[in-house]
């Protein structure tokens, strides 16, 4: 073969990469085309001016003591929601992870399929949708938000925990099984001690996600900072809104830091 002839181009119709690229570009173009984005209105001078004014108003937060004390209580409420939700999810996630995992090769694990299905269903539905559903039954307030967080996170943690249990080193468990110890106590004495650092790490990491979620759940009526935000924005009270936003950002940073240090402490 003549060494000067070009080899086939890497982007040719019979390579999968080509089709993936075509599909992606088609999807993007179709999306922009079918969406009634009204870009001309969004990027109009008037709209940009309004955005500028909006942002300007956000830069002067309300710092009166009365308001700040309300803000403080709402922040505690949001923090409590995220913590209780994550705690519930850790407990129930662990309880569901046990039937959802194969403890050893050859374990019939009769409940595995159903439990995994349940966990996937809990996971698939976003926290906000859960909250909207629970509000119907439980009424407005942080309780619905906490449960919503708990339900969704149970699905997430339950699946992560089950995978951890299945991938855990089997040494300790095997030694006890050989002695004829029942599966429950094998779990307590061997499997759980082996995987518990990883489980705690997952839960703490999930708390970081949940504080963000808790902050916004209030918008649909779940209490806390979200409810305050929705309230003040509805009344166009931009100064109060900016205070609430600042509180949210601070709370998120606080929880991120706590979670990071807790995970460092645990792995020592």
């Amino acid at each position: 073969m003549n060494p000067l002839t070009r080899p086939k181009h890497w982007l040719r119709p019979d390579s999968t990469v080509f089709w993936v690229l075509i599909a992606t570009v088609t999807l993007i173009v179709l999306s922009f085309w079918t969406l009634d984005l009204q870009l001309s209105r969004v990027l109009s001078f008037d709209s940009l001016k309004r955005m500028g004014k909006f942002l300007g108003e956000l830069l002067s937060p309300n710092l009166e003591p009365v308001f700040l004390s309300k803000l403080w209580r709402a922040s505690l409420e949001t923090l409590a929601m995220s913590a209780v939700g994550t705690l519930l999810a850790t407990i129930f996630g662990l309880l569901l992870a046990v039937p959802a995992s194969r403890s050893y090769v050859g374990d019939p694990a009769r409940w595995r399929f159903l439990t995994r299905l349940l966990l996937n269903a809990l996971r698939a539905i976003p926290e906000l949708v859960w909250a909207a559903l629970l509000l119907i039954s439980a009424g407005l307030g942080p309780f619905a938000g906490t449960l919503a967080l708990g339900l969704h996170t149970t699905g997430v943690l339950g699946r992560l925990f089950a995978e951890s249990i299945e991938n855990a080193p089997q040494n300790a468990a095997t030694a006890l099984r050989v002695q004829g110890v029942g599966e429950g106590r094998v779990f307590l004495y061997a499997t759980l001690p082996t995987v518990s650092p990883q489980l705690m790490s997952y839960s703490l990491y999930r708390w970081e996600n949940n504080i963000r979620a808790a902050a916004v759940l209030g918008v649909v009526g779940g209490g806390g900072l979200g409810q305050m935000l929705s309230f003040h924005m509805g009344l166009f009270q931009m100064q109060e809104t900016s205070s609430v936003l600042a509180a949210m950002i601070l709370l998120v940073i606080l929880v991120d830091t706590l979670s990071y240090f807790a995970r460092r402490l645990l792995s020592r």
Partner: protein, 288 residues
């Protein structure tokens, strides 16, 4: 009975004898348990944790009626057409939003990464480039910290109801997330090919296209596709504040306590998420 007595006598022995036989971690554990209880109890009170609320007569009636309507889910052709249309809207918002995020994230990543730093070729990075990079990083953190729902609320006020608010909200928040992770991918990847090119006088963009991008392409695209999947979920959630799509329809139906419509949409949503997962796996495998 004998075993119980044995146990008690052992405890007695423990309390009186050898200090080496006492559990050093016991007091510490009791302490932390008490502390935990002292924190959890007020937290439960603050979140108005009252599970019995579900069983109050009024609430129970509403719940049962709502749940009963779940079977059968609404399956009339017009409704299914509506749901299909809204489902596509949701995907479109997610795609447009992720695309916008990409457009914003790429220049921000390029500006904030140290892999393309020319001043550090001769030792330490100089002050001004360092400060600039740090500022961009702080900007990315800020963009990430505000949940997209909040952005959506703001944009709904400014540009009105509709998909534009959702696209912008996802675009901004995800730009922050993409920017941060892209930065991490680049920083933890190989630097030598890029440094070599820069040392030989290549421009920063040239270095990017010839060494940085090809070297990290798989990881970068993999994460971007994963983010697109998350965007589909997010855009459903944003619908609850007026950004259109499946979420907005679900909100409408829930306000009307129309259980059968909600059931259909939940099922479609779960299927949509599953489909997106399949598509994303196919794409990621194809790009290996």
């Amino acid at each position: 009975m004998l075993r119980w007595l044995n146990g008690r006598s052992e405890l007695a022995v423990l309390k009186s004898n050898d200090p080496a036989l006492r559990d050093p971690a016991w007091l510490r554990r009791v302490f932390w348990f008490v502390v935990a209880c002292l924190i959890v109890w007020p937290a439960l009170v603050t979140t108005e944790f009252r599970p019995w609320v579900f069983f109050e007569t009024e609430n129970l009636k509403v719940t049962v009626r709502f749940l009963a309507e779940f079977f059968p889910p609404a399956l009339s052709p017009e409704f299914l057409q509506l749901v299909a249309r809204e489902a596509w809207r949701t995907v479109a918002i997610a795609t447009a939003g992720t695309f916008l995020a990409l457009l914003l994230a790429i220049p921000l990543t390029l500006l904030s990464t140290t892999v393309l730093s020319v001043s550090s070729l001769s030792g330490r990075m100089q002050a001004l480039p360092f400060v600039l990079r740090q500022l961009i990083r702080w900007l990315l953190i800020l963009m990430r910290s505000v949940p997209e729902l909040i952005w959506a609320l703001v944009f709904v006020r400014v540009v009105g109801l509709g998909p534009a608010a959702g696209v912008l909200a996802i675009g901004l928040t995800y730009a922050g997330m993409l920017g941060k992770v892209y930065g991490e991918i680049l920083e933890s990847g190989e630097r030598e090919p890029a440094t070599a090119l820069l040392r030989n006088g290549a421009g920063r963009l040239q270095t990017f296209f010839y060494s940085v991008l090809p070297g990290n392409a798989t990881e970068l695209t993999s994460y971007t596709i994963y983010r697109w999947e998350c965007a589909i979920r997010a855009s459903t959630v944003l619908g609850f504040v007026g950004a259109g799509g499946l979420g907005q329809q679900m909100d409408n139906s829930m306000r009307m306590f129309n259980g059968s419509e909600v059931a259909t949409m939940l099922i479609v949503f779960i299927l949509l998420v599953g489909l997106a997962d399949l598509v994303s796996t196919w794409m990621r495998r194809a790009l290996q």
